[in-house]
């Protein structure tokens, strides 16, 4: 069978045919050179399809799984007509009309050429990030916009709707302050954690920041802190360093765990290094650091005259040791004998704690009390015949009343075991007294009372510790009449009655509660030390010794704030800035009418 194979190419749209005639029963189509219809393209299978002409018509069969389309439909087999479009890979095949000399004619035209390899490669290569990533500009705009919304617009909005903005003082609107924020976008502006005492305000910026672009005002602070006192008397001290400071100049917030009270000694030393420069009239001594050279010697306030109670302030360690005229006689050394002191139960070894007990909190000491600390050894008996009878440790008049009462009582009762006493006093108890006997007994009691008082107030008992005063101008007490003790001499004296001068009296005890009221010393922090390391009590045998350590004692362990080999001790370790006895530093002003927004 003769088969016409026509290869069609086109030049400017006009077909150019190349005809081949082959002698075959079966027209094979494929890429391989052994095919009668040879289609040299990789998109065509080596043996793609075959066409056979029979009496019934022209039949096409696809080989293997190679796709053949007839009129757009993939077919495995088909009977072809001249009108059918047959696609094999990129080729379009058509049946030719039967003609002379051949039984079957097929034309093939490459209708989908591969195209330019270079263009294909170039088009497939995706090089450069411009199309692979979102553009820099839109991303930048998006970030900028998000930043503006979340970090500026919303925080300012949060600020404007806060009820605490107008909460003013006094009185503090605690409930408003405590409420916090309904919307807390301004928290993104929080520059750092609040200090511990202010932490409850952490989510409430407007509790303090009431006006935009205005520093936190002192009046906001004193809304709560109403009693914070001045540093120096505002009537006499008008230093700019004090008047022009804000609370927040020293009390810095948003510093996290750091305390709100600043301890930097420069807060003090900027003025106190040379205070006379600012205040020529000041009597304060300069201090610049806690060292021997940088800080004055301690100057306790001490009673210099026991009689008048006059207090003088002078430096320790002068040529003449300071004397505290407390009107007490107490030899510390004798009580701290290494072998102990003789007590009712034999020798007893005393130490500081035997008499000195700390106050609750441990900072200072409780006063020494006779009844608790002395009485077990020091009895207040006055009548050797009745040793159990003692006078109270109290005012001289009470002592006198007890003594007189005792002797009147024993004189009238009789049976007093003293050979020097008159018979009436020694008579058998219970025997009735004649009036003249009664007078005689009371006369004896008066004399006896005076003797006992003389002995009591002398060095023997009261005078052992106190300074007794004998008012010679005051006569000895007259004898009681008819056994009735004059009212003024009894303990039941009318409390409102003016105190009549006593024949015997005791100078008031003037023991200081604190020697250095402008400094604060905490004994609690020093409990690991022996008392003697600061207070040389065992070497002191007179009560006028001031058992206070000087600064040299402190600086042995303590140094200035930048000390590296000592305990760094800033000014505020011992001193306070706000002086408790002074008026308020920033008096709270009356609340103004709300000016910004109405309260919500």
């Amino acid at each position: 069978m003769q088969v016409l194979v026509r290869y069609v190419t086109r030049r400017r749209g006009n077909p150019i045919n190349r005809d081949e005639t082959v002698e075959t029963e079966l027209l094979r189509i494929g890429r391989g050179t052994d095919n009668a219809l040879h289609l040299p393209d990789l998109r065509v299978a080596f043996h793609h399809a075959e066409v056979r002409a029979t009496e019934e018509g022209v039949h096409l069969r696809a080989m293997g799984d190679s796709p053949v389309r007839v009129n757009g439909n993939i077919v495995r087999e088909a009977t072809l007509g001249e009108a059918d479009d047959i696609e094999v890979g990129p080729y379009k095949l058509k049946l030719l009309p039967p003609g002379e000399g051949y039984a079957l004619g097929v034309s093939a035209e490459l209708v989908a050429p591969l195209g330019d390899d270079e263009q294909r490669v170039r088009a497939a290569a995706r090089v450069g990030l411009a199309k692979a990533l979102p553009g820099k500009r839109p991303v930048a705009w998006a970030l900028a916009l998000a930043g503006l919304v979340f970090f500026l617009v919303l925080p300012i909005f949060s600020f404007t709707i806060q009820p605490t903005r107008t909460a003013s003082a006094p009185p503090m609107q605690t409930d408003v302050l405590m409420k916090g924020h309904p919307v807390s976008f301004d928290m993104v502006w929080d520059s750092g954690e609040m200090s511990t005492p202010h932490k409850f305000l952490s989510d409430n910026c407007t509790a303090c920041h009431k006006q935009p672009f205005v520093m936190v005002q002192d009046q906001t602070c004193v809304a709560c802190h109403q009693t914070i006192e001045h540093h120096a008397d505002p009537a006499s001290v008008k230093l700019a360093a004090l008047t022009e400071q804000r609370c927040a100049s020293c009390h810095k917030e948003h510093e996290g765990h750091l305390p709100i009270v600043q301890s930097d000694e420069r807060l003090c030393t900027t003025c106190h290094t040379d205070l006379k420069h600012e205040m020529p009239e000041t009597r304060l001594l300069d201090a610049k650091a806690f060292t021997l050279e940088g800080h004055p010697q301690f100057r306790p306030s001490v009673v210099a005259d026991g009689a008048t109670g006059k207090v003088e302030r002078a430096a320790l360690g002068g040529e003449q040791p300071l004397r505290e005229e407390s009107n007490l006689k107490f030899p510390h050394g004798r009580h701290l004998q290494p072998n102990g002191v003789k007590g009712p139960n034999g020798f007893e070894k005393l130490d500081c704690a035997s008499c000195h007990a700390t106050q609750p909190g441990g900072k200072l000491f409780q006063p020494v009390r006779f009844e608790e600390n002395c009485a077990s050894c020091h009895t207040l008996g006055f009548d050797p015949k009745v040793p159990a009878r003692t006078v109270p440790h109290g005012p001289a008049k009470d002592v006198q009343a007890v003594v007189r009462d005792h002797f009147n009582s024993v004189a009238l009762a009789g049976g007093y075991d003293d050979l020097t006493a008159p018979a009436v006093v020694r008579r058998r108890p219970g025997e009735p007294l004649l009036p003249e006997q009664r007078a005689q007994a009371l006369q004896w009691a008066a004399v006896k009372s005076e003797e006992a008082m003389e002995r009591l107030f002398s060095k023997a008992v009261c005078g052992g510790c106190h300074v007794p005063v004998k008012n010679e101008g005051v006569p000895a007490a007259p004898a009681a009449k008819d056994g009735i003790v004059p009212a003024a001499m009894t303990t039941a004296a009318a409390p409102a009655a003016p105190a009549a001068p006593m024949r015997w009296d005791i100078l008031p005890v003037r023991v200081a509660t604190t020697f250095m009221p402008k400094a604060s010393f905490d004994h609690q922090g020093h409990t690991s030390m022996a008392c003697e390391s600061c207070h040389a009590a065992s070497k002191s045998n007179v009560a006028t010794d001031l058992l206070l350590p000087g600064i040299e004692n402190c600086v042995a362990c303590h140094g200035p704030q930048n000390a590296t080999n000592k305990v760094p001790s800033e000014c505020v370790s011992c001193h306070v800035f706000h002086q408790p006895h002074l008026p308020a530093m920033r008096p709270a002003q009356a609340a103004k009418a709300p000016t910004q927004v109405s309260e919500q």
Partner: protein, 278 residues
């Protein structure tokens, strides 16, 4: 000596010296200055460093505008880039000291973090610009990317030619190599430059496998095809490396530029916020 003077050594490291002096003074001031309370942006040194830092950020950002002003000349632009690089690095020190090392979850630390991000991306940019061009030249071997792509097309054409005479399985491998080989692609693909999933590599392995079982008369063609695909693999590796270098040379800018804009905005907010809640 190279005729080209890098922005890094511009005028005998003039700007390196200036930036080092600035950073040195900042560090010295930080060490010497002992504020009451902790170091932070609110001390006078903090305000000073903050002002210098904000000024630097503004000036450094201006490069983005300045570099588009071609009319002012290339030399001056190189001077700008040199100053931009070194002063930008000194900003890291100035900015860090400004914080006083106080950080938190707030807009202030956000501004700092953005600044660090911008500087670090810039540092990568310096690295890229100083290292990759030489590596790229070596990788291209005197050719251009365009030329290499043309070579690739030619290899495809030759492979097709050979494959015409070989069986359908060979043809499928060649066609797959031609149609499925990817160059570049998404940002990650460009940056990774990985050829492990490469269609040409798979095709090469397939052809190698097929060649073992082929008839002696086709062995020659199969061998030539295999050699051709091997060359294509080598060429692809070099092309991908080139694409990777190009991506690395510009990817940092996709961080640097938007982050700079965000930084400028957040910095402004930082300044406003500090004084809003003074």
């Amino acid at each position: 000596m190279s005729v080209h003077e890098s922005f890094l050594v511009y005028r005998g490291f003039r700007f390196l010296k200036a930036a080092a002096a600035l950073a040195g003074i900042a560090i010295l001031a930080y060490l010497v200055y002992n504020p009451m309370g902790p170091h932070n942006g609110g001390t006078w040194l903090g305000y000073t460093l903050g002002t210098i830092g904000a000024g630097l950020i503004g000036w450094l950002t201006w490069l983005g505008v300045r570099k588009r002003q071609y009319s002012l000349g290339a030399t001056k632009l190189q001077s700008w880039v040199s100053a931009h690089v070194y002063l930008g690095l000194s900003l890291l020190i100035v900015g860090t000291l400004h914080t006083g090392f106080q950080f938190g979850w707030n807009v202030h630390t956000l501004a700092y973090a953005l600044m660090v991000g911008v500087i670090l991306s810039g540092v990568f940019g310096i690295y890229a610009y100083s290292r990759y061009p030489a590596l790229m030249t070596a990788n291209r071997g005197g050719q251009t990317l365009d030329f290499m792509l043309r070579q690739l097309a030619e290899l495809d054409r030759q492979a097709r030619e050979i494959a015409l005479t070989l069986g359908d399985e060979f043809a499928a491998a060649v066609r797959s190599s031609e149609e499925n080989t990817r160059i570049g692609g998404g940002a990650w693909a460009q940056l990774r430059a990985s050829g492990s999933g490469c269609a040409t590599l798979a095709a090469t392995r397939r052809v190698e496998e097929l060649a073992r079982g082929t008839t002696p008369e086709l062995a020659d063609s199969a061998g030539r095809l295999l050699a051709l695909l091997g060359r294509k693999c080598d060429l692809l590796a070099r092309i991908r490396k080139e694409v990777q270098f190009r991506a690395l040379m510009e990817v940092w800018l996709y961080v640097h530029v938007p982050m700079t804009v965000a930084l400028v905005v957040v910095l402004a907010i930082h300044i406003i916020a500090v004084f809003f809640y003074w």
